[in-house]
């Protein structure tokens, strides 16, 4: 799980082009949207595409998205349970 969290941190930095952020700067339990990294809906889309392309996950229930994208930890838990790649 820790390995997946670290992998996700790197992917998030890469896909969102967070040039001044390092994986160590990201608290895996901190909120990604609003506070924490201060991401918004466009960033959410990039993460949605990331989950689909890298892990083969397409979210069937859009309203679950907020809970899944709460933090790096919640994304990692969801990926671990649902990944197809």
């Amino acid at each position: 799980m820790e390995e997946l969290v670290e992998e996700l941190k790197k992917e998030i930095i890469d896909v969102l082009n967070l040039e001044e952020v390092t994986p160590d700067d990201i608290d895996p339990a901190a909120p990604l949207f609003g506070e924490g990294l201060g991401l918004d809906s466009i960033d959410a889309l990039e993460l949605i595409v990331l989950l689909e392309k890298k892990y083969g996950i397409r979210l069937a229930t859009p309203s679950d998205g907020k809970a899944i994208f709460k933090s790096v930890n919640t994304i990692a838990e969801y990926v671990q349970k649902n990944r197809k790649k």
């Binding site: 809906s41 466009i42 889309l45 949605i48 595409v49 689909e52 397409r58 979210l59 859009p62 994208f69």
Partner: protein, 292 residues
């Protein structure tokens, strides 16, 4: 954000007024309402609506009109906007409009492919007409302001149900982004306006009609994230009961860096919007300070 920088995005009036308007439009010619709007409604709107100032400046600064001409054009702009609103309700009342399409093959060729594509609109003319005219086997998913009046949404739903159209409301939980992604992944069409900021504060600044304007990054980011084709669809009013739909391909280099793709797409979109406004300068309906 200042009051004039933001627009609520809802149609005026309550449900009772909308129902009454639809009933009257079943009985009367739209021209009767155009006259009522021009004589009674627009003068009041020009007094109470701060949009008159931004529209006046639009004609003065973007088109270089004299103060008197700009005032007249502002009045004309409000009248045309009123006519467009009347036309929307006339459609709900079952009235038909003559619609000519330029670039239909651009739409049909994309609709024939298995992949999904994006259809970008703007707050000019009367885009809602496109929903009833440009139809295909693919489902059209239109991103709409979730706070629109229930009566308007109900009427749209009633008409759109028969035209293979689904509306996706912009929500604070960002579920609309998942719906958009799923729709494109399913090979469907996603329609959204790309001239007005919503949801995200991220923007692309472009030279537009001689000034610097901010375009929302969202629509371009959605397209480039999946590498889908993009078309611009604008529906312009050409006469009392006539409209012309302009469909134009917005090309971008899908192999370029993402940031460059977004820039290219925004540039193509702004150029097409400017082309439309050079033909129909009075049909600009963004009533807030658009230019920096």
């Amino acid at each position: 954000m200042a009051v004039e920088k933001e627009w609520a995005g809802t149609t005026y009036g309550n449900g009772w007024m909308h129902k009454w308007l639809i009933r009257m439009l079943r009985l009367c010619n739209v021209r009767v309402f155009y006259v009522l709007v021009a004589v009674f409604v627009v003068p009041v709107c020009l007094v109470v609506n701060p949009g008159r100032r931004t529209t006046y400046r639009y004609f003065r600064e973007r088109w270089g009109l004299t103060p008197f001409r700009a005032m007249w054009k502002t009045y004309r702009n409000f009248c045309l906007f009123g006519q467009v609103v009347v036309d929307k309700f006339a459609m709900y009342a079952g009235k038909k409009f003559d619609v000519e399409i330029e670039g239909y093959e651009v739409f049909r060729s994309r609709a024939a492919k298995p992949e999904g594509f994006m259809q970008l609109s703007a707050h000019i003319g009367n885009y809602e007409i496109a929903g009833y005219t440009l139809t295909s086997e693919k489902r059209l998913n239109a991103l709409v302001f979730a706070g629109e009046k229930e009566s308007v949404m109900n009427n749209r739903n009633r008409l759109f149900d028969t035209h293979n159209i689904n509306m996706i409301g912009i929500r604070s939980d960002m579920s609309h982004m998942f719906e958009i992604n799923n729709a494109l992944g399913n090979g469907e069409i996603v329609s959204m306006s790309a001239d007005r900021m919503f949801g995200s504060a991220k923007s692309v600044t472009r030279t537009f009609l001689g000034g610097q304007a901010e375009f929302p990054m969202g629509p371009f980011a959605v397209a480039t994230s999946r590498g889908v084709d993009v078309i611009a669809v604008n529906v312009m009013k050409t006469a009392a009961t006539k409209y012309k739909i302009y469909v134009t391909a917005l090309d971008y280099d899908k192999t370029a860096a993402r940031k460059e793709q977004t820039e290219q797409l925004c540039r193509a979109y702004a150029a097409e919007l400017e082309r439309m406004l050079r033909m129909y300068p009075e049909q600009w309906y963004n009533y807030y300070e658009y230019w920096k």
